[in-house]
Symmetry: C2
Subunit: 317 residues, 2 copies
């Protein structure tokens, strides 16, 4: 079998990689996403980099897989993003087919991440896996018996929109109290900004790490401060982790997978998140229902979705 191209389009960075049929990475381009560039800019970069990979490939390109960081209609193979201008209803897989002349399969980053960790990462050897991508938003992908369970409306795995509390703020999806408003990177940044307004003295270190302005507070800075032992920062991350733990208990009760794998940028917080998750799972456990589902960090770091795109390419081939 020939080589494959895998593409991962995210809001912060995008990646274009050349892989062999065994999933070994041969070449990789990784660059920040220029948000203001919109779709047109992104397509130009992809085209340029795919052509470069093609030229440098020792054998022909057989197929391409694409992960998109936003809603995708898998049946229509279209992006359905309503957040990013220019992408709405764009037939991205067809564009790849026409541009590269190879078959292509497209899915969202949560499903791609699930496929990546299942085949090449923390999920190897499992029968079932629930992957959670913790980033600006929160998504999820469910694999059972080696197959993605997409659901009636391609909405299976939407753990970010579990309603966790009546007292919650409004979510990007329009509902209130979603997990995404409590445990995502944007929720952590927002909480830190709320602290900055009420108790500016508590966020000194977080603000320093965010470049000096309270408006620019990021989840990354909060996590960094927490790692250094800053108490208010640790408290913010812990609360986010505890809500996440409650949501994961729900996944355990409903699908009882072999593993729950945490990926996405925020999962880099590691122990800071895993400790409150395990704390909650212990507090809320049912003595009569001994579920042995493990909660583990992904093994592919920020490349889960890219490796998932390799799986999509193999399926398209």
């Amino acid at each position: 079998m020939n080589n494959l191209i895998a593409i991962d389009i995210g809001g912060t960075a995008y990646r274009v990689g050349l892989f062999d049929a065994q999933g070994r990475r041969l070449l990789l381009f990784e660059n920040p996403t220029l948000r203001s560039g919109g779709r047109q800019w992104m397509l130009e970069q992809l085209e340029k980099q795919c052509r470069a990979l093609k030229q440098n490939s020792d054998s022909p390109i057989q197929a391409c897989g694409v992960s998109f960081g936003g809603p995708v209609n898998f049946g229509l193979q279209q992006v359905t993003s309503i957040h990013v201008p220019g992408w709405e209803n764009f037939a991205l897989a067809s564009w790849v087919k026409e541009t590269l002349g190879v078959p292509c399969l497209l899915d969202n980053d949560a499903n791609a991440g699930a496929l990546g960790e299942y085949h090449y990462g923390a999920g190897r050897g499992t029968q079932s896996l629930f992957y959670v991508t913790l980033s600006t938003g929160i998504g999820g992908g469910l694999i059972s018996g080696g197959k993605l369970l997409r659901g009636r409306d391609s909405l299976a795995g939407e753990i970010g929109h579990l309603v966790m509390t009546d007292a919650g703020v409004t979510c990007s999806c329009g509902a209130r109290g979603c997990l995404e408003t409590l445990s995502s990177a944007s929720a952590i940044a927002r909480t830190a900004q709320e602290w900055a307004e009420r108790r500016p003295e508590a966020v000194t270190r977080m603000v320093e790490l965010s470049g000096g302005s309270a408006e620019g507070l990021t989840a990354k800075a909060v996590a960094q401060a927490a790692l250094e032992g800053d108490m208010p920062a640790a408290r913010i991350i812990r609360d986010a982790g505890r809500w996440l733990g409650r949501a994961l208990l729900t996944v355990i009760r409903i699908v009882n997978p072999d593993k729950i794998v945490l990926g996405g940028g925020l999962a880099q917080a590691g122990k800071l998140l895993l400790e409150p998750i395990h704390e909650v799972l212990e507090e809320l456990k049912s003595p009569a229902l001994h579920a042995t589902t493990e909660v583990v960090p992904g093994e592919l770091g920020t490349y889960s979705a890219l490796y998932g795109a390799v799986t999509l390419a193999l399926e398209a081939a």
Copy 2:
């Protein structure tokens, strides 16, 4: 193909039926369960009735399927019930094999109910289905792509033990705030009994329908009173239905099945439960995630698990 025997062992009633390979019911015994009789009594009844079915069958019995109203270890084909004395770790499938001389497959009533509705009831023609059995307790079974998703510890579908509230009472499973403590028949009876203590004048009609004593208040009487327009009874059922609606939203977000099918004795309350469920699903919906999962009553009434046992027999054959 020859005929099949299906057995459904419940806490209130048990059923033993003769079916043909197309799932048509040929003969049925249906009797109340003598709880004080324990395992020994039940096995004697089953043996007697299975022999009677065998004698009356126009063709040989090919296989048997059994649904048990309590936890089952599917891998070991054993009952793991800790609630009913005498059943713990009993190898029920082996007993059937030895007694009837045919292969046998055993599962719990929630999984059996899911199989029954999927193949013979409200789930016909769907790809995926989540079945909820509403009875003394609350169980669930998940079917995707025609197969039961049992999970790592045979605990998938345990919707009765979703933790819904921090303020909840202790559940039979040992945890607190489970859905089962809010929406099951025993929860409804318990709530009515609490009303009886605090406001005896409010439960007059419910007590009448329960045979005159507040201690004997049953969910059936509460549902009956609610159907007659009794306001306190309607309020109790509505609250149970609203909690159930929240739990079903969770199922929709995690697995987005084609249908959620409600079965079990309490599902006979019909509209009384479906209205508050749909009310909550409407209140908590995400404008950006338009899940079209339908919530419907089962079509097999109290026979969902029995028909599931037919499916288990077909699998065992």
